[in-house]
């Protein structure tokens, strides 16, 4: 039966902040402390994370400017207006490929970590297919529902993180954090590069902007959205160093999950908190994945005007699955990860900055 709408499909600043946090918190944070500990002494990685957070916030603000300059218009259309039609197609294709790879990497990561913490015998491909099917089901629904899912899962994820951190206080040894500020700036910079990868994803706003309510102040929402993951990452990193020391963190692949493993929750109902923790973490990886898929679908549909949403999803899902299954070993898997992050720098920073600069230079009408 046809439904009537209350006009609730538009999103406000709370939804924008939640959406940005949800897509940013994903697979990246699980390995981040390990990456940082590899080449940053002591606990100085926090500078890198904070630096990366500032960069992300700055790029986020650029994106906000871009979307408010062309309010109510889709990304593809205003790219076309700023530059030219072929360029717009190329740019949309870059985003389409980027989000597709993002999805592939996420489903492969889910399978890898599940295998490590939940079961040993189930093949990677089965785990991935199950996850992908759930993502596909979500993307089949309405856009508004997809954003509502962020609201449903993000509080649970943050809550469980807070619980783990509260109980981890007794394990943390502040002495492990000392001495402070002994890392060379160049190393901090390379740490920042690692940290920015875990913070990618805020460019999603480019594709959800047409849904915004007219008077929404996206800048504030963007800053809050970026701040939540940055604070979470800082805490996780510091905890990880304080509990496992730098040397230990450098040896553990998923320090974030291991913190949960060390935690003893009073009452002792669950012996191994890390399974519970990771299980809940699947929700946020799911959020990132389905928003990435949705963004990718909208890119491809902008390029191929006649493409049906369903057809597009059906074409995309086997492709992303195949890409996700391509890496045969850990090093290839890491290569896929770094490929995603390199394209990510382009999509999150370079392309929006260039677009905004061009639009400024051209002057042009502010609102189409």
């Amino acid at each position: 039966m046809k439904t009537f709408e209350y006009g609730d499909n538009r999103i406000g600043s709370r939804e924008v902040a939640m959406m940005i946090s949800s897509i940013m918190i994903g697979v990246g944070i699980l390995t981040l402390p390990n990456q940082l500990a590899k080449h940053i002494n002591s606990s100085d990685g926090w500078i890198s994370i904070a630096g990366a957070g500032l960069i992300a916030a700055a790029c986020g603000l650029v994106i906000c400017r871009l979307t408010s300059r062309f309010q109510g218009d889709t990304f593809h259309r205003y790219t076309e207006r700023i530059t030219a039609r072929p360029v717009a197609i190329l740019v949309s294709a870059v985003y389409g490929v980027y989000f597709l790879l993002y999805l592939s990497f996420a489903i492969r990561s889910i399978a890898r970590i599940s295998k490590m913490y939940l079961f040993d015998n189930t093949p990677v491909s089965f785990i991935s297919v199950a996850f992908l099917l759930v993502v596909v089901y979500a993307v089949f629904g309405t856009k508004a529902a997809l954003l509502r899912l962020n609201t449903m899962f993000l509080p649970i994820v943050l809550l469980i993180s807070v619980i783990v951190m509260l109980f981890a206080i007794q394990l943390a040894d502040i002495g492990n954090l000392k001495p402070f500020l002994i890392t060379r700036p160049t190393e901090l910079l390379s740490g920042t590069k690692d940290a920015t990868y875990a913070l990618l994803g805020f460019e999603i706003l480019l594709f959800q902007a047409p849904l915004l309510r007219p008077a929404v102040r996206t800048e504030k929402a963007m800053l809050i959205g970026v701040a939540i993951p940055v604070v979470l990452y800082l805490l996780t990193y510091l905890y990880s160093i304080a509990i496992f020391t730098r040397e230990g963190t450098a040896q553990i692949i998923y320090p974030t999950v291991e913190i949960a493993k060390e935690v003893r929750v009073p009452g002792q109902f669950f012996e191994r908190m890390e399974s519970v923790f990771f299980t809940v973490w699947i929700m946020t990886i799911f959020n990132s994945s389905c928003m990435a898929m949705e963004a990718s679908v909208s890119c491809w549909r902008a390029i191929f005007a006649g493409l049906n949403q369903r057809t597009c999803i059906w074409i995309m899902s086997p492709v992303s699955f195949t890409i996700g299954m391509l890496p045969q070993n850990v090093s290839q898997y890491n290569k896929l990860g770094s490929a995603v992050s390199y394209i990510g720098y382009g999509t999150a920073a370079i392309i929006p900055i260039v677009l905004l600069a061009t639009a400024r230079l051209k002057g042009g009408s502010r609102v189409g």
Binding site: E271, V280, I282
Partner: protein, 485 residues
Amino acid sequence: MKEPKAAVQPAELSSSLAENIEQIRSKLGNAADLLVSEHCSKSGVKYAVFCIDGLSNRLIIQEHLLEALIGSESDKAELPVQEIKSTRRLDDAIISILSGDTVVLMEGMSDAWIVGTKTWNSRSVEEPQTEALIRGPRDGFTESFRTNTALIRRRLRDPNLRFESFQLGRRSRTDVSIVYVEGIVNDQLLQEVRRRIHTIDVDDVTGSGFIEQWISDHFLSPFPQIMSTERPDKVTAALMQGKIAIVVDNTPFQLIMPMTIFSFFHSPEDYYQNWTISTVIRVMRFGAAFLATFLPAFYIALLEYHHGMLPSQLAFSIAGSREGVPFPAVVEAFAMEATLELLREAGVRLPKPIGQTIGIVGGLVIGEAAVRAGIVSPIMVIVVAITAISSFSLPSYTFAISLRMIRFLIMLAAALFGLYGIVLSYIVLNIHIANLMSFGIPYATPFAPTFTADWKDLLLRAPFRLLTGRPRMMRTKDKNRMKNK
């Protein structure tokens, strides 16, 4: 709006009395329960009186109507009754006769008088069977349309309370009424309810369940998007929140819409008790719903995939109790849960005194015997019992049965993928709920989309002093419940 076509062809009454009598008789196939009597007044005018035996109040007809007709000395009798209208159409007259009214025809006049004499034996107002409360009114809806509307009117003496009545069903001609409070309800919502209900064009409207399923947004979903209730206090409370009720004849279950998932966790008792108690009980209900849906799945996942997650003491005692059980936990859980559902179904079907016996026999004897025989483990019996208790503690029966069904799907997911399967099915459940709408209102409101003002009456039940406004999500015209706020 399309007027449903009448089963009887539209025709005018003629001015000849004999012809009219013949017409009506033949249309009703010379029904045995049709009472036709012909009378002649003092002034010599001929009248005919029609009614259906058993649907009309014979006392009114005998004492007032017939006496007035026979005693009349003018050309046109004055009828001393309260409810009277006239019609020229034959089919209107026939439908009125069939609804229990009395039709009076006069020689030489092509107008029929319809006199309201509907009375039939109906159940008296009793305590609702499915929604019993400890503290709260004990009157429930009955099968009689008029009693039900009166029960609502009695609680709400607001002149703005509206009953929009009409008949649905080409043949059944069931009385249906859209109930709302003018000045509170959102007009768009009201329009939509009207539009949907007038799309119903079938020959038989069998109770409110049919209407519910017909006008729901998503008929494929297991979740109820409209609440059915036997309690008039629930209906009036909903009306005051800007919701709309539909009262249907021949059923004690009336409908309230639109509904969000959280309203199925609320019971009217929450408002009759102290807010602290109500809040605690509400939190417990959410926990109960979670257990009723996920507990057997957790049992399967923990035993089949993640033994390590349980504390070792507990793991040992479970392993010890499962010693000698020949089936894997999946088979055990499915068998026991299916037995439970069967028992529940059997308990409903059987006459009341035996129903209770079956519960005891089933629950205690079969459970005990199964454990003794080594078919299931005692832990499994505990799990099944907790699931059953939890699902009974939910205030809405329709919501509880949809959770019962979903439980089996989640058990299947747990059997395939363990904890990973459970979390995936939890996500799928959430996706489904996020996509559901009830009359355009997302099913997870006010949580997602968020209306923080409405959270005072969500998981919490804040003290009445704080509940100053109507739910924001309903977009009511009148936003406040209290003055000076």
